[in-house]
């Protein structure tokens, strides 16, 4: 207001009004009309116009401010707030530690430890060469390579992965600019090859790619967490700022039914076999009779899961469950079980067995052709007579035989907790040709896995009740809750009496006059069966020159079975029989298994067997 009254523009105008001639009259006149002292000197219309203009200007400005405010706070508000927060928040991933895989005694077969990925931001690294020299020995990477990486483009280069904590501590002490760490847990397999095929391995990103690692990925993996930290200009956390962490949920652990010591022994023994130049592949399965649990399962050559990336992919399977072979004579136990269960034979039934038998367009002979011999059924099994077994199978009939084979688990997966299990091959009996109908009872023209073979003999050893093999005993979640895996219900395949009679006959195989005296275990009674099956030659698709699969499957002690062990060896260039090759492996493994489990021999003597008799003349 005061500025207006001091406005110099008005005073000259007023004084200009005073004409020189009227100066005398103006002396007594007040300068202004009374009551106009506060007048602005403007007409009311001008003043009103100015007021209105001012008002409009102010309101326009205010409205603009309010609109901008609403836009900032109301409409884009969250986005700006987010952008501001993003600018000062740093998110660090917290990797969940993958769960352990342990054996039945809790020994670690696979576990993870914290480790770091060493990364660099080349735009911050002040002197690539010096930094590279500082890191080269610690990271075990050539200095030249590091220098190249550190001088490269971009803001993120990985210098080394899965670096252990001791090394990262040492690097931290160097306080190098532009070098930082990210969680990168490392998976360790302390036992290496031992149990490797069962445990499996993880890929570069830590996902299970084989074995239990793959099958139990959901349990083992856990859930990654993150840490959100408010940081200052230098990237350092603000002490009183936001520091919110979503903790990682570590993975649960899986306990196997495997006994690591036995697994080691099995692997060692098989490796000896694989090293002899004749065996190209050998598998062994050790199963507990009463529970169906797999105590050991291995194949040579094995692989070390830690070295899976550098291993021939052909070897990265678990042949004991995924590879099939023709079992040969070990299958005769199923044929005889069918014959006994159906009432066509007892162990003492005597048959006049010729040296060969016509089967459709071909002739099946015994291992060595012979004149007709009066063998008991026990003798047929002990001598592994093809002809005698085919004679019994014909009495059972194709359809019934197929039913028994399927009841023993042939042709279907066992449901073991491993990926890639094979069901084997068993054709419908309706499709069997005459020659196939003669081959299947003696274990040719039918394919099984080593695991299935063990399961057949577990059924016999367990009094005719088949319990599907299982490998996982329990799962422990990260919070400590233990879930015991349900044990499969047993299914009765043959009567207890049939199973007992079979067990009795199988003992004869290892006894005097049997095909596998080498399968004997000092101090224990052993029941088992050899197998020598022709191996299909992959070059011609025929049996010629394919060599043999030699097998031995058995259980001990025969009078109170504890373990079933199935051994099969692939020997493409050898004609040695199962009794000479696979039976000793079985005996060594069974010896160790029984001794280490403190199984006390019953002390009872092996019964006398009647292998031959007088065939009824009819």
């Amino acid at each position: 207001m005061s500025t207006r009254s001091n406005d110099p523009s008005r005073r000259p105008a007023r004084s200009g009004d005073r004409r020189p001639g009227t100066a005398g009259r103006d002396v007594l006149r007040p300068r202004r009309e009374p009551g106009t002292r506060r007048a602005r000197g403007l007409t009311p219309t001008v003043r009103a116009r100015r007021n209105r203009f001012g008002l409009i200007a102010m309101v326009t400005l205010l409205v603009a401010v309010v609109v901008k405010l609403v836009v900032l706070q109301g409409i884009d508000g969250s986005a700006y707030a987010q952008a501001a927060e993003d600018d000062r928040m740093r998110v660090f991933d917290i990797s969940a530690i993958r769960g352990e895989i342990v054996d039945r005694d809790g020994n670690r077969l696979a576990y993870s430890v914290e480790a770091s990925r060493v990364v660099a931001d080349p735009t911050i690294v002040p002197d690539p060469e010096r930094t590279a020299l500082a890191l080269t020995t610690l990271l075990d990477v050539p200095a030249g390579e590091l220098t190249e990486q550190l001088s490269g483009e971009g803001r993120y280069v990985v210098l080394a992965e899965q670096v252990d904590t001791a090394t990262t501590d040492a690097i931290s002490e160097l306080a190098l600019d532009g070098i930082s760490f990210q969680d990168d847990p490392v998976r360790l397999y302390p036992a290496g090859v031992v149990g490797g095929q069962i445990v499996g391995f993880v890929g570069r990103d830590g996902d299970g790619l084989a074995g239990i690692e793959q099958r139990y990925e959901d349990v083992l993996a856990g859930t990654d967490g993150e840490r959100r930290v408010e940081v200052g200009a230098g990237g350092l956390p603000i002490p009183s700022g936001i520091d919110a962490s979503t903790p990682a949920v570590d993975g649960g652990s899986v306990q196997l039914t495997i006994d690591e010591d036995l697994q080691y022994t099995v692997q060692q023994r098989l490796d000896v076999e694989c090293a002899n130049g004749l065996t190209t592949r050998g598998s062994a399965v050790v199963q507990e009779v009463a529970t169906g649990e797999i105590v050991a399962m291995a194949t040579c050559p094995g692989y070390d899961p830690a070295q899976a990336r550098n291993t021939d992919p052909e070897l990265l399977g678990n042949p004991a469950v995924s590879d099939v072979f023709e079992p040969g004579s070990v299958m005769k136990a199923v044929t005889l079980a069918a014959a006994i269960e159906e009432g066509h034979a007892t162990p003492d039934t005597v048959l006049s067995v010729p040296g060969h038998i016509q089967a459709g367009d071909r002739v099946v002979t015994d291992a060595h052709d012979h004149a007709p011999i009066d063998w008991t059924v026990t003798g047929i099994l002990a001598k592994s007579s093809n002809v005698g077994t085919i004679m019994l199978a014909r009495e059972v009939g194709d359809q019934r035989l197929e039913e028994y084979l399927r009841a023993f688990g042939i042709g279907s997966t066992t449901g073991i907790e491993l990926p890639g299990e094979s069901a084997g091959i068993l054709q419908d009996s309706a499709d069997w040709t005459q020659s196939r109908a003669a081959n299947i009872p003696i274990g040719q023209g039918v394919s099984v896995t080593a695991l299935q073979m063990a399961s057949v003999y577990q059924t016999i050893a367990n009094g005719g009740v088949r319990i599907e093999p299982r490998l996982v005993s329990s799962v422990t979640a990260a919070d400590g809750t233990v879930t015991t895996e349900p044990r499969p219900e047993g299914t009765r395949v043959v009567s207890e009496s049939t199973a007992d009679q079979l067990a009795y006959m199988l003992e004869a195989v290892v006894g005097p006059g049997g095909t596998a005296p080498l399968g004997e275990v000092d101090g224990f009674r052993v029941a088992g069966k050899t197998g020598t099956a022709q191996r299909a030659n992959p070059e011609c698709g025929c049996y010629d020159g394919g060599g043999y699969f030699t097998t031995f499957v058995g259980f001990a002690p025969a009078d109170a079975p504890r373990y079933v062990i199935a051994v099969d060896l692939e020997r493409p260039t050898s004609s040695a029989e199962g009794g000479q090759v696979a039976a000793p492996v079985f005996a060594d493994l069974m010896q160790y298994a029984l001794t280490s489990s403190d199984v006390v021999p019953s002390g009872t003597a092996r019964p006398e067997f009647q292998l031959t008799g007088t065939a009824p003349t009819n």
């Binding site: 904590t165 360790l188 002490p239 060692q268 010896q591 006390v600 002390g603």
Partner: protein
């Protein structure tokens, strides 16, 4: 508005003002020179002495001024105390936060140490390592074991066919 009222208002506005000070100020306003017109009918405004209540009022207005001093001191000291305690609190939080970070780092360091030691134990306990250590210590794998079983009558029988272990070193491939 009467002069008295003006005086009072003035006194209220300037807390330490007194009546005499306002007198000269009011005089020009009531001066007859202000109106030069012929209308002299209205009685002229005169200065009157302050009413009886004035001194008490003055005292009343002065007394709160004296009593406000502690209040101001209180407010100022409260503000200062708040600022100081806020500072102290923030410092304490920062110190705690720093200590928490240090403790967390120490904790992580110890956890890593435990992990490293456990790793050593695990590695040393694998069957292969145990076998190697046992062989190095001159042990050999045991053969078939014999079991001495006591009967109810006190007699004992040996079950199994115990085999003496091979002489260490004699058969390095054994086992």
């Amino acid at each position: 508005m009467s002069a008295t009222a003006r005086v009072h208002t003035g006194a209220l506005r300037s807390r330490s003002a007194t009546a005499p000070r306002t007198t000269p100020r009011t005089t020009p306003r009531t001066s007859p020179t202000r109106r030069t017109g012929p209308v002299q009918v209205r009685p002229q405004l005169r200065l009157v002495t302050a009413p009886v209540g004035t001194p008490t009022r003055t005292r009343r207005t002065a007394a709160p001024a004296r009593r406000r001093a502690p209040f101001v001191v209180l407010v100022v000291s409260l503000l200062a105390a708040t600022a100081l305690s806020l500072l102290a609190l923030n410092t304490a939080i920062a110190v705690d936060s720093l200590q928490a970070s240090q403790q967390r780092a120490a904790n992580a360091e110890l956890a890593q140490q435990v992990e490293r030691l456990e790793q050593q134990v695990t590695d040393a306990r694998t069957p292969a390592q145990l076998a190697a250590a046992a062989t190095a210590a001159g042990l050999v794998p045991a053969g078939a074991a014999g079991h001495v079983v006591l009967g109810p009558d006190g007699t004992s029988v040996v079950r199994g066919t115990p085999v003496p272990a091979p002489v260490p070193g004699a058969d390095p491939a054994g086992g």
